[in-house]
């Protein structure tokens, strides 16, 4: 199927990050510049090579506390470049590199930088806690009108009933699910840039405070400050690039009812996306060496394990139990940077993508998965889902 797939005409050429922490005392704008400069240098390019800029989300979500991308045009002005392609979106942001890959595959740009900058750690601290989603608006518009008025004030409350239902249907326990944050914390201990690196045990997990049942504190990702930038380049420029990584396949399908409370079963939110992605490659789940799968909540990683076919429906509890399979040295090392649960909520799989690229290049030091050739990356925000396989260049 190879040549005709547009994603094969794009490569991920660079990844870069600012300082990352619970609180980083620089503006979002400065963090964004730090990440962009690092990513462009990582690609082996200079700023003058960059002719496309994109950020997630676009301006429409700028009023959410801690969303700190900056203004795309100010960033372009500061970089003193010319762009032939720009994008700032929410809808359709199934994967960070999806839109940029379309741009370079269709010749609209050669080297696109996309970034995501968060200051949600600082925002939560300044608000005396994590602010309610949408609470900075006086009224709840659109789909939020069925959530915020009745007290479903956070994505935690909105996803929690689906976790309840999933655990009810399959008999999955909190003792099993604990192994996701516990294992990822062990990975974070090997990542100097992770937000939380001290050991976490199943006992710590079970004793932690409940946010919205069955989701406890350690099931939730960590609000953080930091920026991640990714450079996507046209495949024909590969000879100019330091260490590009191939996009083997990717897809982003929204099916069912795209709504936090109307989804028939949010536990199956990634199924159509994963099926569409696997239809674009001859690789199979068993070929995946490392999985960087979205963990805004631990339960989302559970659902991705099943959607991607790493285990069967309802089997993720036993798959993760004990942490062996998903740990370093296991059959499917998962979220090797700590994921968003310990590495920090870098959001929308930007952190996951950066780690996948570094793993495929062999740049991960103590947490390196030996000989990693195929990495899975997934992202989900409610019902907006994306899945990809990245591969080491031949």
């Amino acid at each position: 199927m190879g040549g005709e797939l547009f994603e094969r005409r794009a490569v991920i050429s660079g990844v870069g990050q600012s300082a990352i922490g619970r609180q980083v005392d620089r503006s979002g704008f400065q963090l964004t510049l730090d990440a962009i400069l690092a990513a462009v240098a990582d690609a082996g390019l200079t700023l003058d090579d960059v002719d496309g800029l994109a950020m997630f989300p676009g301006g429409g979500k700028a009023n959410v506390p801690g969303y700190a991308n900056g203004d795309l045009y100010e960033i372009q002005d500061a970089l003193r470049i010319t762009t032939s392609w720009r994008q700032g979106i929410v809808e359709g942001m199934c994967l960070p590199f999806y839109g940029p890959a379309m741009a370079v595959a269709t010749g609209q740009a050669r080297h696109v930088v996309i970034w995501r900058t968060v200051k949600e750690g600082s925002a939560a601290r300044n608000a005396g806690g994590r602010p309610a989603y949408g609470s900075t608006n006086p009224t709840a518009a659109g789909p939020l009108a069925w959530l915020l008025p009745v007290g479903a004030l956070s994505p935690v409350c909105q996803i929690a009933p689906y976790a309840t239902r999933y655990m009810h249907e399959y008999g999955v326990t909190r003792e099993q699910l604990a192994w996701i944050p516990v294992t990822q914390r062990a990975h974070a201990a090997l990542n100097p840039d992770a937000v939380y690196r001290s050991p976490l045990t199943v006992e710590d997990y079970l004793a932690s405070r409940m946010i919205s049942t069955p989701i406890c504190l350690y099931d939730c990702d960590v609000p953080a400050d930091g920026a991640t930038a990714i450079v996507v380049s046209a495949a024909e420029t590969a000879a100019d690039l330091r260490a590009p990584v191939a996009i083997e396949a990717m897809a982003g399908v929204v099916d069912g009812r795209p709504s936090w409370e109307q989804w028939e079963d949010m536990g199956r939110v990634g199924y159509a996306t994963a099926a569409a992605m696997w239809a674009r490659t001859d690789l199979r789940p068993a070929d995946v060496d490392v999985a960087e799968i979205y963990d805004g909540f631990a339960i989302e990683a559970v659902w991705w394990l099943e959607a991607m076919g790493f285990c069967g429906p309802g089997e993720a509890g036993s798959f993760v139990e004990g942490g062996k399979r998903i740990g370093l040295g296991g059959e499917l090392p998962m979220n090797t940077w700590g994921g968003q649960l310990s590495g920090g909520r870098l959001h929308a799989a930007f952190g996951h993508t950066a780690e996948a690229v570094r793993q495929l290049r062999g740049e991960c030091g103590e947490r390196q998965v030996a000989g990693a050739r195929v990495a899975a990356v997934t992202s989900v925000g409610g019902y907006e889902a994306g899945a990809a396989l990245l591969t080491r260049m031949p």
């Binding site: 709840a140 007290g151 239902r165 409940m210 919205s212 409370e261 028939e264």
Partner: protein, 150 residues
């Protein structure tokens, strides 16, 4: 009842009838004049046959809990916790699911499949918002096995 804390809804052409009925304690959903299918939330279009000829119908019967959560986090100042939130469906109203707080029992008694009555309670901004009242008997089993009318 004192009003619960939250963010009031933005009322639109599509949702005005719902919120007006809510003020009277009535749960309105859209019903297709052509095929009879019910849809929620209101879009002015039947989700079964895509007809634009929709009217409203009131749901009065008992529903069952598809799933639930008990929220412990104080997301906003003055928010009293814990409280249970339930996703409610009706065996005789396929296509309708409504989110709301659970009343009439301790939050920790919320359960998949439990039977509830439609209710409303004073919510933010002077709006009456959907909530559900636990029915004393145990769940009727509908919905606990994934066959709740879908």
């Amino acid at each position: 009842m004192t009003a619960t804390v939250g963010i009031p809804p933005a009322v639109t052409e599509e949702t005005a009838a719902f919120w007006e009925a809510a003020a009277e304690g009535r749960l309105l959903v859209e019903r297709c004049a052509g095929c009879g299918a019910e849809s929620f939330p209101p879009y002015g279009m039947c989700r079964a046959c895509r007809s634009r000829a929709v009217e409203h119908v009131e749901i009065t019967g008992r529903g069952h809990v598809y799933s639930f959560t008990v929220n412990y986090q104080r997301w906003m100042p003055g928010l009293e916790v814990p409280y249970a939130l339930v996703l409610v469906e009706w065996a005789d109203h396929p296509g309708v699911r409504v989110f709301g707080r659970l009343r009439g029992c301790p939050p920790e008694d919320a359960a998949v499949g439990m039977t509830v009555e439609v209710g409303f309670e004073p919510g933010p901004g002077g709006y009456a918002v959907p909530s559900f009242v636990a029915v004393a008997d145990v769940g009727d089993g509908i919905g606990g096995t994934g066959d709740g009318g879908e």
